[in-house]
């Protein structure tokens, strides 16, 4: 099984084996499950992705159910109307799009009441910001914001875990550039947090923090994609440049 083929089954595989390797449902056939297991056991990146998705999935389960406010549907409708198509920023496409999608889905599901204003993958898929939101909805409250920040932080932690383990795959110059830019983003995160401490109701400070967190997720996704692309040909089967 190639990475590309595994992409098609990863959701079912993660659903089947939520933890401790014990299948919970018979979604996949025995043969497919065995193929997935074999692939995950030999492919570093798919294994890391699977672990990451499992972590996100478990984190999502631990969250309290969120009831969307009536404004949400107006915001979603406005966003869809305004943004007909989207782009996920990642280097060479492929599974990292699935990861971006998974992160976005988790975020959207777990904090739906805020989706229209703030949460989205990179690029034009992003809904209109509250500033230009025709619904005129107020900025989210502190609890909502904390929840969203936690979710981004969890996603970032998972991606950082992958990049730290595999950083040696990148050449020194590229790794240095990526690290320098992560530092730039961390600085933006720090400034936004300080501004929020100073003015907790500031919409622009909230947006800046979320934008900076989103940028960090995107850059870490790009970093993982680059690591994938830089792997020697015998370490993975069908990812990165060849996709």
């Amino acid at each position: 099984m190639t990475c590309q083929e595994y992409d098609a089954y990863i959701d079912d595989y993660v659903d089947e084996v939520p933890s401790k390797g014990i299948p919970s449902k018979g979604i996949l056939s025995d043969a497919l499950r065995a193929q997935c297991e074999a692939h995950v056991s030999t492919c570093t990146h798919c294994r890391a992705l699977t672990t990451d998705l499992r972590t996100i999935r478990m984190a999502t389960r631990s969250l309290e159910p969120q009831v969307p406010s009536p404004q949400v549907w107006y915001r979603i409708a406005a966003a869809i109307e305004a943004e007909p198509h989207g782009i996920v920023s990642a280097w060479f496409g492929g599974w990292q799009q699935a990861l971006a999608g998974a992160v976005a889905v988790v975020l959207i599901v777990s904090s739906l009441s805020w989706v229209g204003g703030h949460l989205a993958p990179a690029g034009r898929n992003r809904p209109a910001s509250p500033i230009s939101d025709a619904s005129g909805a107020p900025p989210m409250d502190a609890a909502e914001f904390t929840l969203v920040e936690q979710q981004y932080t969890t996603a970032i932690a998972g991606l950082e875990d992958i990049t730290k383990k595999e950083r040696a795959t990148l050449d020194a110059d590229t790794a240095q550039v990526l690290q320098a830019n992560l530092t730039v983003i961390d600085s933006a995160i720090g400034e936004s947090r300080a501004a929020l401490n100073q003015e907790p109701e500031s919409t622009v400070a909230q947006e800046s923090l979320v934008e900076a967190l989103r940028n960090k997720v995107v850059l870490l996704q790009d970093t993982v994609a680059l690591i994938n692309a830089m792997q020697p040909a015998d370490a993975d089967t069908n990812t990165g440049l060849n996709q």
Binding site: S129, I131, S132, S192, N215
Partner: protein, 383 residues
């Protein structure tokens, strides 16, 4: 050498001044002594300048010698370069795509007439052991394949795996110069090295991790990316263009497109003389600048966390604008009709509106402009 005219001037002064001064009672000896003092001063200045110039020339020569020595040592360490030319011509299908994936080296693609793809390449390798360098060159393979009218070109380092580059004490690269039919679609990927494309009308995607991406006279640009290089586009068109660089600048000039999206983390984003219906420009620490025409119902979003955001509409501007900053300044050269709870300001406004969103319209409105910078300045300027 600049002292010479001054010396001549002193002698001329002496010749003219001597008779007149003698009449005033000043002795000829005094005049001569004074003139000689001037001459000595001029000579001293000339000598000092000559010394300075000699010193500069000497330092430059020494620096050149050091650089030459560094290159010699580097050459000795890395070994002499061995090269091999590669050339192949293949037929591209009517709607075919050229895909070229390189690891290290330049990629230069030019659109032209005909229906063939001509690939000229120089393979380069270095190693302290010349035999080993030649062996590396043999293992540095250019694979050209044709499939369903498409042409795929790949650089492969067989001994180290397809994606390794310049590791384990060796150096290898391939410089490509490729001619393609002008209407061909082109997809280029490089890990290390610049990518340059000129005169291609087909769909274009180009990526380089550590090199720049330079595009000119292209007609259907889709995606351009770099990690540490700049991305530059001139005199081109697109329907839906996305360009980004993590640390480099992204600069587009004289580009017409329906949609354009630029992204960076620490680089500047600049659109100049652009015609777009929808533009998004987002960077974290870089500056953002948009100079272009506005579509009547267009939407334009410009954002930086700590950089300045500058918007310069051209022709007859009619737009609605929302400018938001936490700690920067907002300035507009246009008189704004304010909306909502924005503080009033008119022509030539230059003031600090901390943590505030300024909403307003210019002319009859129409295009929607959103500008945001957390700590940078926001400027709505006239051309």
């Amino acid at each position: 050498m600049r002292a010479m005219p001054r010396l001549c001037a002193a002698l001329v002064t002496l010749a003219i001044a001597a008779p007149a001064s003698a009449q005033d009672g000043q002795s000829i000896a005094d005049i001569i002594n004074e003139a000689l003092r001037e001459v000595r001063v001029e000579f001293a200045a000339a000598a000092a300048q000559v010394n300075r110039q000699a010193g500069q020339a000497g330092r430059a020569a020494a620096q050149a010698a050091r650089e030459q020595e560094r290159r010699r040592r580097d050459e000795a360490r890395r070994g002499p370069e061995v090269t091999e030319a590669f050339s192949k011509t293949v037929r591209l299908g009517r709607d075919g795509t050229l895909t070229l994936e390189n690891v290290s080296g330049n990629i230069d693609v030019n659109g032209g007439s005909g229906s063939d793809v001509r690939i000229d390449a120089i393979k380069r390798a270095r190693h302290p052991d010349a035999d080993e360098a030649r062996a590396i060159l043999r293992d540095l393979v250019i694979n050209v394949s044709e499939r369903g009218g498409d042409v795929d070109v790949r650089t492969e380092y067989q001994r180290f795996g397809a994606r390794r580059r310049n590791r384990d004490g060796y150096s290898a690269s391939v410089d490509y110069t490729v001619s393609v039919p002008r209407d061909a679609s082109v997809m280029l990927k490089s890990i290390s090295g610049p990518v340059k494309v000129t005169n291609v009308n087909g769909e274009l995607r180009a990526e380089s991790i550590s090199g720049g991406v330079v595009i000119s006279a292209a007609r259907k640009i889709r995606t351009l990316k770099s990690i540490s290089g700049d991305v530059q586009v001139t005199d081109s068109q697109s329907d839906d263009l996305t360009a980004g660089s993590t640390s480099g600048n992204v600069i587009l000039r004289n580009v017409k497109t329906r949609i354009v999206e630029l992204q960076s983390i620490s680089g500047d984003l600049r659109l100049t003389d652009v015609d777009a219906d929808h533009a998004e420009m987002r960077t974290v620490s870089g500056n953002v600048e948009y100079t272009g025409r506005l579509s009547r119902n267009g939407r334009y979003e410009f954002q930086s966390h700590s950089g300045n955001v500058r918007f310069i509409p051209v022709s007859s501007p009619n737009f609605s604008i929302e400018a938001t900053t936490f700690s920067g300044d907002v300035r507009s050269d246009f008189p704004l009709t304010l909306q909502g709870d924005s503080q009033s300001f008119g022509r030539g406004f230059a003031g600090r509106r901390q943590n505030r969103s300024v909403r307003g319209t210019v002319g009859s409105g129409g295009a929607m402009i959103t500008m945001q910078s957390f700590s940078g300045n926001i400027v709505i300027a006239k051309q």
